[in-house]
Amino acid sequence: MPEKLILEIEGLHVYYGNIHAVKGINIKVPEGKIVTLIGANGAGKTTTLSTIAGLVKARRGKILFEGEDVTNKPAHQIVERGIALVPEGRRIFPNLTVYENLMMGAFNRKDEEDVKKDLEWVFELFPRLKERLSQKGGTLSGGEQQMLAISRALMSRPKLLMMDEPSLGLAPLLVKEVFEVIRVINSQGTSILLVEQNALAALKVSNYGYVLETGNIRLEGPSSELLNNEEVKNAYLGVS
C-alpha cells in the first residue's frame, strides 16, 4: 500500500515581483513523517513554506493538503485546516505576554478544555515557558523565544507543522534540544516539514529530504541516502 500523503506540492511556481523564486517544484510529505528541505540561502525554502502557509501567492502549480486543493487560500484558513508555521526568526509578539502569545496560536479553537490540555502538554515540552507566562514575549531570550514560537504553533493543534530554521542563532546545547523536541512532536503523530541550514542535524532527524538550489529541486531521497551522497556531503555537510 502506498503511503498516505498529508501534503503534496505539484509544479509550484512563485514570484516575488519579477524574481522567479520557486521554479516548478514537487514535494511530498507522507503522513506522520518528517521531511526536510535543505539548501543555501536564496534557494527558495522559506518562499515554499510561506506559499503553503498562504502568506505568498503561487503563480502556478498546486498545493494539496489531505487531498484538498488549498493553493492560494488566505493564511487564516490554512491554519484552520491544520497547517501551522513556525516562521523564520521566531516572530513572537513582543508586546504580548507569553500566555497571550500561546493563546494567539489557539485563536480559532473553540474547544477550551482541549486548549487547556494542550497548554499543559506544551509546558511539559518546555517547562521554562510556564515560569514566564506573564512576562512580555519581547523580554525572553532567543532560545526561549524559539520555544515559544514552536509552542505557539502547536497550540493550533496542527496536523502538519512547518518549521523554518528553528535552530538558527541558537547555542549548540539549545540546538540539540530543539531537534529532540522535533522528534518528540513527531512521535506523537504530527507530520513535520522542516527547513534547515543545519543540514546534518536536519537529515539525521528526518525521513526524507529535498535539496533545493535556486528554486529547483536538485536532489531528493531518503535522508539516510542523502547523508551518504557525495554531492550533499561536499556542498551541505561540510565533509570532504
Binding site: 509578539f93 508586546n95 485563536f107
Partner: protein
C-alpha cells in the same frame, strides 16, 4: 479677572471636559495608526457625520434623544468600517503615501457629501429640541457652579474609555489588534482574519469619534459639515503628544492638550484669541524634541 480657587476649579472642570473629548477622538487616530501606520484624516469627518446622524435621529426620525445618540454612535462605527473597506483595504500593500492621499480625499469627500445632503447652514444642537433641558441646569458644589451636562459628558467619556481598555486588553479581538500592531503577517499565521480585525478597529475608533461628536455638540451646540476639522486636528495633535499608536498615549495627550488650552486662556486671557495656535506650538515642540511622543515607543521602520 483674578484667579480665585472657585474659578480655577471651574477651569479645571472645563479642561478635563475638553481633554476627555480630545481623548475620545485621539484614540481612533492612534488605534488606526498603531495597526496600519496610517493617519486617517477622515476621522474628524466621521466625528461630524456621527453628530449629524444624532441630529437627524431626533429631528427627522423622532427617536428619543438617547436612542438617537446610540444609533448615531453605531452608525459612525459602521461608517468607519465601510471607509476602511472601500478606501483603504484595496491599498493595503500599496506604498503608504497612497493611503495617506486617499485619507485626505476621503475627508474632502465626506465634507462635500455632508454639504450636499445636509446643507451648509449650521444646525442648532441645543436643548430642548435635541436633548432635555435638564442637562443645562447648574449644580452648586461648594462655591463652584457646574452644568449637569459636564458630569454627563465626563461620565460617558469615562465609561467609553473603560470599555475600550477592557476590549483591547481582555478580549480575543483586542489581543489580535495588539498582535497586528507589531506583526500583520504572523498574526494571519495564527488564524486571525486580519482584514476583519482591522475593520473592527476602524469601527470602534469611529464609534468613539461619533460619540465624541455628539458630546461635543451638546457642549458647543452647532452642527455643520466642517465641524470635524479643528477638533480632528487637535485630537491628532493630542495623539502625537501622547505617542501616536498608543491608546494610553492618546488619552494622556487628549487630557493634557485640553487642560493646557483651557488653562492658558484662563491665566492669559489676553491670548484667548490665539487659543488654537497653542496646540500647534505644542505640536512643533513635541516633534522637535520627542517625536515619538510621551508614551510612544521608538518609531521603528518595519522591515
Amino acid at each position: 479677572m483674578r484667579m480665585t480657587l472657585p474659578i480655577f476649579l471651574q477651569n479645571l472642570a472645563n479642561g478635563i471636559l475638553l481633554g476627555g473629548l480630545y481623548a475620545l477622538i485621539a484614540i481612533g487616530y492612534s488605534m488606526v495608526y498603531g495597526i496600519l501606520r496610517l493617519i486617517n484624516f477622515a476621522h474628524g469627518d466621521v466625528f461630524m457625520m456621527g453628530t449629524y446622524f444624532a441630529f437627524y435621529g431626533v429631528t427627522l426620525f423622532l427617536l428619543p434623544w438617547w436612542l438617537a445618540f446610540v444609533v448615531a454612535i453605531i452608525g459612525a462605527g459602521i461608517l468607519g468600517f465601510l471607509i476602511d473597506r472601500i478606501a483603504y483595504k484595496p491599498l493595503r500593500n500599496a506604498p503608504r503615501i497612497s493611503s495617506l492621499i486617499t485619507a485626505i480625499g476621503m475627508s474632502i469627500f465626506l465634507e462635500s457629501l455632508a454639504v450636499v445632503i445636509f446643507g451648509g447652514i449650521p444646525k442648532s444642537f441645543a436643548p430642548p429640541r435635541i436633548y432635555p433641558k435638564f442637562f443645562s441646569k447648574m449644580l452648586q458644589i461648594g462655591s463652584v457652579r457646574v452644568q449637569i451636562l459636564t458630569f454627563f459628558i465626563l461620565g460617558i467619556t469615562a465609561l467609553l474609555i473603560i470599555f475600550l481598555i477592557w476590549f483591547v486588553y481582555k478580549t480575543k479581538i483586542g489581543m489580535a489588534m495588539r498582535a497586528i500592531s507589531t506583526d500583520i503577517a504572523t498574526t494571519a499565521l495564527m488564524g486571525v482574519n486580519v482584514d476583519l480585525v482591522i475593520g473592527i478597529t476602524f469601527a470602534i475608533g469611529s464609534a468613539l469619534a461619533g460619540a465624541g461628536g455628539i458630546l461635543w455638540a451638546m457642549k458647543y451646540p452647532n452642527v455643520n459639515p466642517y465641524m470635524g476639522f479643528m477638533p480632528g486636528l487637535k485630537a491628532f495633535i493630542a495623539a502625537v503628544i501622547g505617542g501616536i499608536g498608543s491608546i494610553q498615549g492618546a488619552m494622556l495627550g487628549g487630557f493634557l492638550l485640553g487642560m493646557i488650552e483651557i488653562m492658558l486662556v484662563a491665566f492669559l486671557p489676553r491670548f484667548a484669541g490665539y487659543r488654537d495656535i497653542f496646540a500647534f506650538i505644542i505640536l512643533i515642540i513635541i516633534l522637535m524634541y520627542k517625536p515619538s511622543g510621551i508614551l510612544g515607543a521608538k518609531l521603528e521602520e518595519k522591515v
